[in-house]
């Protein structure tokens, strides 16, 4: 059986498709085409929520995106959505919805006490109290936090997926109302690439709420249907419904959120279809046809359930075929609301009275209402309303001349519906976001778009053009104009825009604050922002206390800061402030419109860039083999590098010790493919390196390698690595893994912008080669079996390279070492990396070849006192601080050189790199431990520096560490102390940084 308040006929709902849903635990029936709001109204449910602060009963005030009251929690558990607007929730079978911010129930909410205590809770009350005793704030606060908030956040990871896409078009039309449709049609016909975005699930805009509008002599919706059909026929036009254009950014870049599955029952959602899609759109031209939003009147106790916008009443009757009430009072200041009165009347709803602020109501609709015999009370105001969970009656009284006060006790009129209209506000949000100015229109008493700041135009009600005929024409012309701007001239004979009757809601009497029977704030609440419970009295209080700027008023009272961002309250607030100052509205100014127009899901911004797609995982050609070998991996930038290779039952410490010893005793092998490689060619290549590196390169022989240090212009160490001379004009630079891209960028920058005269070309060849590093006394023996290169110390000395084959693969072999042992780095074409690795592993078995990871490499290089950029350096360290004066050429300029000779660079209290040996050899200093000369019994203590690297070294047979210490080199042999978090203090002695094979025979041998 149909719901009690469903009209027997009419509306755009599909009465053949009943939909069952739950609200606050009760099961109800609606129809396909309903919103949650219309279905609730059809079932006589008007109390749907509680307000933010006073927990006053709240109903449904609108039928669209502007809804500030009816915020609903939809769904359960991980698929629960808070704060959805009942007016925009498409009814879907099995929908589970509930009221928010009330306990134990929306019918009986204990926090209603806030309402009775409201005298104590004016705007900003919390700034004035909760300060004693100081320590109690956190206690007060936790109570406040529990009381605040509206809905509940979902519980558990969101199972749904989200999508985003870039898009491009010639003309974006926002809004598919009358002007949007004619705009899309004329731009589309001209051949421009058009995207038409509509937040609703259907095209037509306000026409969907009109009972008897006509276009071209036919019913408006039939015309809309024709328009839709034609647009869908144009392959250059794309229609996006359920798509909210939420943000207008620089350079005509637009953000839109499309809802793809929320309107489908859970079991009918295609698995492969994302829930929401973010459109990141670049439009050559933007055509805003976003319409207008009706403005409520601010009168005493104007927040009760059953008090709604007049236009919303029309929507519920005409579009959804429901009765918003049985007995209605219309309260208006303009002619437009009479249309609502007539529609309600036609729908069989008793219109008890039309209370009109205008002294002698007139206008086309007013006349029709008179003819219909409706009771019109001119120069009257609603001065109070009654009813707790639903409005029961209103008190009306005549107004004084100036409209400042009312006469007499007033007449009580029973009703369960109050349809309110205070005029219309064009939806200028997007225009304003695009930095277009907005100006105040005195006739319509609203803000309208001024000159656009970007390639955009506005049309229809959005531009302050309220007549249907005018909207159609303006859209039609704007469509032609914008298409032409993008190079698409209208073809064939000029078409006339569709014709329709032209009327707007004038005449009107503008009144921002309707007087009550008591002085403002003395009982009765004139709500401006119904969601945040901000009243006109609150605004006056803010102004009285000196918060004069409209931004101060907004922030102090929180008006317009709810989930609706003031769509129905901001202009009223501005009007009331202007009234208080007695100044024109433009002098008050407007608060900024910020994105989003309506709230946008977090998930849609992430799209598919979550989980393992959040960030690329870069893998070397040998990665799969390392995984197979059970390697533990470390993230280095985006790369996964083997950290260590544990064998059965080993912990990290044991594995690393084993790897480190193997490299000294026999043979270790590591995947060094991630090191950056830059191919440098051209006749000025050597000179280029001279300017980039701190040391000199001209004399380097072909076939030789050299270690280089690179500084930023601020003199701080930026990167290091070995560069080899492959030919007279040909070098191969290696960089650290993390800095490969930044270094290439650095080189290109100087080459192109500072030294264009140098004939040099740079090419990244990082991934052209797989690099396998052999380290240990048996490195030569193994490699000898695999290569045709003469490996004898004489033929192939340390710091040189040779070309030949390895395991039959063309290879470039470098005799360089980061471990301080006999070592070769073999570069082969990347696709052969895995094969070579396997060959090496097999051939190396006899030497107990041991793959080692980054951790072992760290220990090995630390034994030798080699630095790691980013560990021994942190952007504040110079070569001198590292004791690497030997690598800084005195003879030439290079990037960063001058900075090394600034006043503070030579100070001897700078932090210098030193070695540390703990007094207890087994004790390993924690990396990051801070060192002091004197341990105080409690902080603060004067720190000298920190431990940059620290390991147990099985080869040295004790712990070793490096540290940056103020004046460190002058402290050799002296004792330092590391007071740790657990209270223990580690004592250590300052030493040099080389702990193993100080003469370096092993490397050269």
């Amino acid at each position: 059986m149909p719901a009690r308040f469903r009209l027997t006929q009419g509306g755009l709902i599909d009465r053949s498709k009943p939909v069952s849903f739950q609200f606050n635990g009760k099961v109800y029936l609606g129809f396909e085409g309903d919103t949650l709001a219309s279905a609730l109204i059809a079932n006589g449910v008007h109390l749907v929520g509680r307000s933010f602060k006073y927990h006053r009963p709240r109903g449904i005030m609108s039928a669209g995106a502007e809804e500030a009251n009816a915020l609903i929690q939809v769904g359960e558990g991980a698929r629960s959505d808070p704060n959805l607007r009942a007016t925009q929730i498409e009814l879907v079978d099995g929908l589970v919805a509930s009221s928010q911010n009330c306990w134990p129930s929306v019918e009986f909410d204990v926090s209603i006490v806030n309402n009775f205590a409201s005298r104590l809770l004016p705007s900003g009350f919390y700034y004035k109290t909760f300060m004693w005793p100081a320590s109690f704030w956190m206690t007060y606060e936790s109570a406040i936090r529990k009381a605040a908030g509206l809905g509940k956040a979902p519980e558990g990871p969101d199972p749904d997926s989200y999508d985003k896409t870039f898009a491009h078009c010639d003309v974006l039309v926002v809004g598919a109302g009358p002007s949007g449709l004619t705009a899309a049609l004329s731009a589309g016909r001209a051949g421009a690439r058009v995207i038409l975005a509509e937040q609703d699930n259907a095209l037509g805009g306000d026409l969907l709420s009109e009972a008897d509008a006509e276009i071209q002599g036919q019913p408006a919706l039939e015309w809309v249907e024709g328009a839709r059909a034609e647009l869908e026929g144009l392959e250059n036009v794309r229609i996006l419904t359920r798509t909210q254009c939420y943000g207008y950014f620089d350079h005509n870049f637009i953000g839109l959120m499309q809802n793809l599955t929320d309107h489908l029952p859970q079991n009918a959602k295609p698995a492969s279809l994302p829930r929401h899609r973010l459109w990141k759109l670049r439009a050559k031209q933007v055509l805003l046809a976003t319409g207008a939003i009706e403005r409520p009147l601010v009168f005493s106790d104007n927040d009760r359930p059953g008090i709604m916008l007049a236009s919303a009443c029309r929507t519920y009757v005409n579009r959804y075929g429901v009765k918003p009430g049985k007995k209605a009072v219309i309260f208006t200041n303009n002619d437009g609301a009479y249309a609502a009165a007539l529609d309600l009347h036609k729908a069989g709803i008793h219109v008890a009275a039309i209370v009109d602020l205008r002294s002698d109501p007139e206008g086309p609709m007013t006349e029709q209402a008179r003819e219909a015999g409706l009771r019109i009370l001119g120069n009257h105001a609603v001065i109070a309303t009654a009813g707790d969970k639903r409005v029961k009656a209103v008190l009306v009284a005549p107004l004084s001349e100036d409209g400042e006060k009312v006469y007499g006790g007033g007449e009580k009129i029973d009703c369960d519906l109050v349809a309110v209209s205070g005029g219309w506000n064009p939806t200028v949000h997007l225009h304003s976001q695009s930095r277009g100015k907005i100006v105040f229109d005195d006739d319509y008493a609203c803000f309208v778009p001024g000159t656009p700041a970007q390639e955009s135009v506005t049309a229809g009600a959005c531009s302050g053009n309220f007549g249907l005929g005018a909207c159609l024409t303006q859209g039609h012309d704007a469509g032609i104009a914008t298409a032409a701007k993008t190079g698409f001239k209208a073809k064939g004979r000029k078409r006339a825009p569709p014709k329709a009757e032209d009327r707007n809601f004038l005449p009107a009497r503008w009144m921002w604050l309707v007087p009550g029977d008591k002085p403002l704030g003395h009982g009765g609440k004139h709500f401006v922002d119904v969601q945040n419970d901000v009243t006109a009295a609150d605004l006056h209080l803010a102004l009285r206390e000196g918060y004069r700027s409209i931004e101060h008023v907004k922030r102090y009272t929180t008006t317009g800061m709810g989930t609706d961002q003031g769509k129905t309250s901001n202009v009223n607030a501005i009007g009331i402030v202007a009234g208080h100052f007695g100044c024109p509205i433009p002098n008050v100014g407007v608060t900024t419109f910020r994105p989003p127009y309506t709230p946008v899901t977090f998930g849609v911004f992430a799209g598919r860039d979550v989980g393992d797609l959040l960030d690329p995982v870069r893998k070397t050609p040998m990665h799969a083999l390392h995984e197979h070998a059970g390697a533990a991996f470390e993230d280095v930038g985006q790369w996964k590098r083997p950290w260590y290779f544990p064998i059965a039952g080993e912990d990290m410490h044991q594995a690393v010790n084993r790897e480190v010893k193997a490299c000294r005793d026999s043979l270790g092998v590591m995947d060094a493919s991630t090191l950056g490689k830059i191919d440098i060619q051209g006749k000025d290549a050597a000179e280029f390196l001279n300017r980039i590196y701190t040391n000199a390169w001209s004399q380097l022989k072909v076939g030789a390698c050299r270690y280089g240090l690179m500084l930023g212009e601020d003199g701080m160490v930026m990167d290091d690595g070995v560069t080899s001379r492959l030919g007279e004009n040909h070098f191969l630079m290696t960089t650290t893994t993390g800095n490969a891209a930044p270094v290439l960028g650095h080189l290109e920058e100087y080459l192109q912008t500072e030294w264009p005269e140098l004939e040099v070309y740079l090419t990244s060849v990082t991934e052209q080669f797989a690099t396998i590093s052999l380290a240990g006394p048996n490195a030569r023996n193994l490699l000898a079996e695999l290569t045709d290169i003469d490996l004898s110390a004489e033929a192939f000395p340390f710091m040189t390279l040779r070309e030949g084959t390895a395991a039959g693969i063309p290879a470039r072999v470098f005799r360089i070492s980061f471990t301080g042992d006999l070592s070769y780095e073999i570069n082969v074409p990347a696709s052969y990396g895995a094969a070579l690795w396997q060959t090496v592993m097999t051939a190396g078995e006899k030497y107990g070849i041991t793959p080692y990871g980054t951790e072992a490499m760290h220990v090995l290089r630390a034994e030798k006192g080699f630095i790691i950029v980013g560990q021994e350096t942190d952007g504040s360290v110079t070569p001198f601080d590292l004791g690497m004066d030997w690598i800084v050429s005195k003879k030439k300029d290079f990037v960063g050189r001058r900075s090394l000779f600034r006043a503070d660079m030579s100070k001897d209290d700078r932090k210098q790199l030193v070695g540390l040996l703990t007094d207890v050899p087994e004790q390993v200093l924690p990396e990051g431990a801070q060192l002091v000369e004197k341990v105080e019994d409690k902080p603060p203590m004067k720190m000298l520096g920190h431990v940059t690297s620290s390991y147990h070294s099985p080869n040295v047979g004790r712990s070793i560490a490096m540290a940056l210490i103020k004046g460190g080199r002058a402290r050799m042999g002296s004792k330092l102390y590391a007071p740790l978090a657990d209270g223990k203090v580690v004592t250590c002695t300052v030493t040099g940084v080389v702990f193993y094979d100080k003469e370096g025979e092993r490397t050269r041998g």
Partner: protein, 97 residues
């Protein structure tokens, strides 16, 4: 999301580019003879203009070329794009603050 007209590849989105800060700051040839102040000015100081600003960009994800852009740092409107080393085009360089 700005649209920048790479002089070599054509109009592309901001995310393909990297920013290089103020343009036309030449690296001193004779840094030897500069005072700490002069050198510090070169390395750190910046006119950070509000209004039309001449700045450097590089098409990182494209042709990897550096070039210069004249951009209003308030409206973000791009007034001109020109090659590295070229003189800035004639523009009204008043900082309309």
């Amino acid at each position: 999301m700005l649209e920048i007209n790479c002089p070599y590849c054509g109009p592309r989105f901001e995310t393909e580019f990297s920013y290089g800060g103020e343009a036309h700051i030449e690296r001193p040839k004779d840094s030897e003879n500069l005072t700490d102040e002069q050198w510090g000015d070169y390395v750190f100081m910046n006119s950070n203009t509000k209004g039309v600003f001449l700045e450097r960009w590089v098409h990182t994800s494209g042709c990897r070329r550096w070039f210069n852009v004249a951009r209003d740092t308030v409206s973000y409107q791009i007034l001109a794009v020109y090659e590295t080393g070229a003189k800035p085009p004639k523009l009204d360089l008043r900082n309309d603050v």
